[in-house]
């Protein structure tokens, strides 16, 4: 097939434009929610769970509703934690959760990472769950590429998005559609008390995404909505390096004795 016909039929330019569209909040209105995201975070702040929750809520609010769906989505939210993750960063606190979410959270405490993966998969398969949030610490052996692929396929098939928070983890192989690395950022000063901490803000790096080029954003919540600004100083690194960012550090080197 000559190149001209190919370009006419497939409209390569449009595909490329779609491919190079930068990520921004509210994209779920066009493309639907991202089925499987990972958020890498440190354990000394709650940014991982907070960003996962903010992304989930952003997708959930903007995702197109079918004709058959009721206008008010009151489905439950499954929040899975391993005991180690709960010990390090605490459990969700109902009074601090967003108001339209607090009465719908179902919390699962798993002893082992295998149990947590089982719970994540069961949650993703359930039609009466709006989205699933998982928190795992480290790089457990059970969460290899096969397990991650399994979760992605289940999430795509049943349409229940999964947001997996990886605490203190290496960037290992994963089939997640979007992979974020979140750090903390100082919040904007509130109008009435400049001394006080303001609305939450995070510095988030999208280092691997299927449909978007990587980049770094300063994400924040204003009035319960996710807002994105560019990183303040120093633009993001060259895309070529960041593209393979997920592949550079494959696994933690095994201990010598094993």
């Amino acid at each position: 097939m000559p190149i001209e016909t190919l370009s006419q039929t497939c409209d390569v330019a449009a595909l490329a434009a779609q491919r190079s569209a930068r990520w921004q909040p509210g994209l779920a209105a066009r493309a639907g929610p991202v089925s499987h995201s990972e958020v890498f975070a440190s354990t000394n702040h709650a940014g991982g769970a907070a960003l996962a929750l903010a992304l989930a809520l952003d997708d959930w609010r903007h995702a197109p509703r079918g004709e058959t769906r009721e206008a008010q989505d009151q489905r439950a939210v499954l929040w899975v934690q391993t005991r180690e993750a709960a010990r390090l960063t605490g459990r969700p606190y109902r009074a601090g959760l967003p108001g339209d979410l607090s009465h719908r959270v179902i919390h699962v405490l798993a002893e082992k990472p295998e149990d947590a993966l089982f719970a994540l998969e069961e949650g993703v398969r359930c039609r009466e769950i709006a989205f699933v949030i998982g928190e795992l610490s480290g790089n457990p052996r059970a969460l290899d590429f096969t397990a991650s692929r399994r979760l992605t396929l289940a999430a795509e098939r049943h349409g229940v998005p999964l947001y997996l928070v990886r605490l203190e983890a290496q960037r290992d192989l994963s089939s997640a559609r979007m992979r974020w690395e979140v750090g903390c950022a100082s919040s904007a000063a509130p109008a009435w008390n400049a001394q006080a901490p303001g609305a939450p803000a995070w510095q988030a790096e999208l280092f691997r995404a299927r449909a978007h080029p990587p980049g770094t954003w300063l994400l924040g919540e204003e009035g319960g909505r996710l807002r994105a600004g560019r990183k303040r100083e120093g633009e993001d690194e060259s895309p070529g390096r960041a593209w393979t960012g997920g592949l550079q550090q494959r696994r933690r080197p095994r201990a010598a004795g094993r």
Binding site: G47, F118, Q195, E221
Partner: protein, 525 residues
């Protein structure tokens, strides 16, 4: 419908009271299958030695009375025989009899400890009138070797009184029928016919009131004053009198027989292998689904018993988050619990019992493979999770009325109903996540109660850049010890933008300990 009753008015209420005066002794004779003609008493052990609960005719003739200590009875009659009493067994027999007594009326109620009440409104003509009905009742109980006394009256209280203290098979006509005066007909009964407690009867006897008719002679006001702070009907003669005469309603709790769905398979050849066990389990699940569907119920708790050849019984119990009768779901949950079953020489019988069932309406089955297409339901998902992860692993956070932040949240089963609570106040900013235990931090701050400047948590130093507070939360004095210290909460942000919720426990010089400690309790978004 004569004597002035309109065609639409309901027939007058008729209650049949059956008193099984010697229930415990009759039951003992039935169990022994032989008559004991010598003196015999049934005893119960008390803190002061054995006490007589029931005595047969020879025993009563020898001087033994219920309530008497056995030692006292032995002094009167040394050759008295004893047997242990069994109140729980008597109660079980009475429940069975209450169910059986529904042959005479649409519903029956227990009248503990030794009586039954049957509603026979407008059914007497089926037995040929009320006298024939009473004869039938007594004959039926006599065939079962149970002594009984019966009466029919417009109210439960009057029927009870006549069965215990009236003539044999007495019938009290409804007041509208023959314009008879109910109080006048019942006036000769003793006050014990009012179903009163023993101490109230003693009071009435000391007041000289022995008959029901005498109660009305001293005036209602006097009785009202004497028993004004007795609320319970069994302690207040006026309430009992009004119930007897039908002036106030007396609620009765009818007995509703319930069948526990149960299916079982006896196996010709004992099974020892897991694949066969799964096959039988699927059959049992199908049978159970059919049994539950017939009664429009769904199971909440299931018990699977495995009878082994050598006499051992292995029981596996399963609780479900919502009522279900889906055999595939039940089998899948049980399969996870059967991994550690030791079959020994083989399993010869399996029995599946739904010990807790709830109403579940029939609904259309999924015609296509719906679970494959649309995913599972929430209840099925929670069942699977709690079977694999344990009972307490799947929970839902609920608010609890308390000021202390870690007490203000509790965890309950995910599908249980949430109790209504007051909404939290909007000006309180709470952290997204709360640590299981507050972690102690070392803080540099301006004493006595200044803002924190710098703190060390988990080995690293944080400089405080922004701070809001304090929000003072006092200890709950009605619950905690007197030495509990107050907490001053600060919402802080450190130099790198990490937001925390920390508190100082106590004040300098509050007399409840030394220098105050600081704790980090929550991580803000």
């Amino acid at each position: 419908m004569s004597s002035g009753q309109g065609p639409t008015s309901p027939p007058p209420r008729r209650i049949l009271s059956i008193w099984l005066g010697a229930l415990a002794m009759d039951r003992w004779h039935l169990a022994q299958e032989q008559a004991e003609h010598g003196p015999l008493v049934l005893i119960a052990d008390t803190a002061h030695g054995p006490r007589i609960e029931a005595a047969n005719a020879a025993g009563r003739g020898a001087g033994a009375r219920p309530g008497m200590m056995l030692a006292d009875a032995r002094t009167l009659c040394p050759e008295i025989r004893t047997a242990p009493s069994d109140p729980a067994g008597d109660r079980a027999l009475l429940e069975k009899l209450a169910e059986w007594a529904m042959r005479w009326g649409p519903w029956s109620a227990l009248d503990s400890p030794d009586g039954l009440l049957v509603d026979v409104t407008a059914v007497a003509h089926l037995f040929g009138g009320e006298p024939r009905l009473l004869e039938d009742v007594q004959a039926a109980f006599a065939r079962r070797n149970l002594t009984s006394r019966t009466a029919i009256a417009p109210t439960a209280g009057a029927a009870w009184a006549l069965a215990h203290f009236g003539a044999e098979r007495s019938i009290l006509a409804p007041p509208e029928r023959d314009h008879a005066d109910m109080p006048a007909q019942l006036a000769d009964l003793p006050v014990a016919a009012l179903r009163l407690d023993g101490d109230v009867l003693t009071v009435l006897r000391r007041l000289g009131l022995k008959r029901l008719g005498e109660l009305t002679t001293i005036g209602r006001d006097a009785l009202q004053r004497r028993f004004r702070n007795r609320r319970s009907p069994a302690a207040n003669p006026l309430v009992r009198l009004d119930q007897l005469l039908g002036r106030v309603p007396e609620p009765l709790l009818p007995v509703v027989p319930q069948q526990m769905p149960l299916v079982q398979r006896r196996l010709l050849e004992p099974i020892r292998h897991r694949s066969l066990l799964d096959r039988v389990l699927i059959d049992l699940g199908d049978d159970m689904a059919r049994a539950l569907e017939g009664s429009a119920q769904g199971a909440r708790r299931l018990e699977l018993g495995l009878w082994r050849v050598d006499g051992e019984v292995v029981v596996r119990r399963l609780e479900l988050a919502a009522a279900t009768r889906d055999p595939a779901h039940i089998c899948r949950l049980f399969a996870a619990k059967l991994d550690d079953v030791d079959a020994g020489f083989g399993i010869e019988m399996l029995r599946l019992r739904a010990s807790w069932a709830e109403p579940l309406a029939l609904e259309q089955q999924d015609l296509e493979a719906a679970a494959e297409q649309h995913g599972t339901s929430l209840a099925a998902c929670i069942d699977r999770l709690s079977v694999r992860l344990g009972e307490g692993a799947v929970t839902r956070p609920v608010l609890h009325p308390s000021h202390i932040p870690e007490r203000a949240q509790r965890w309950q089963p995910p599908l249980a109903a949430q109790a209504p609570v007051q909404a939290e106040l909007a000006f309180h900013q709470r952290p997204l996540k709360l640590l299981d235990r507050p972690e102690r931090i070392a803080v540099l701050y301006a004493t006595p109660d200044g803002y924190p400047q710098r703190f060390r948590w988990r080995g690293s130093v944080h400089d405080v850049a922004r701070v809001e507070g304090p929000e003072r939360i006092a200890p709950e004095w009605w619950r905690e010890r007197g030495a509990a210290r107050l907490r001053d909460y600060y919402r802080i942000e450190d130099g790198e933008g990490r937001r925390y919720w920390i508190y100082r426990q106590g004040l300098v010089g509050d007399g409840r300990g030394g220098l105050p400690d600081w704790y980090l309790q929550g991580l803000c978004a």
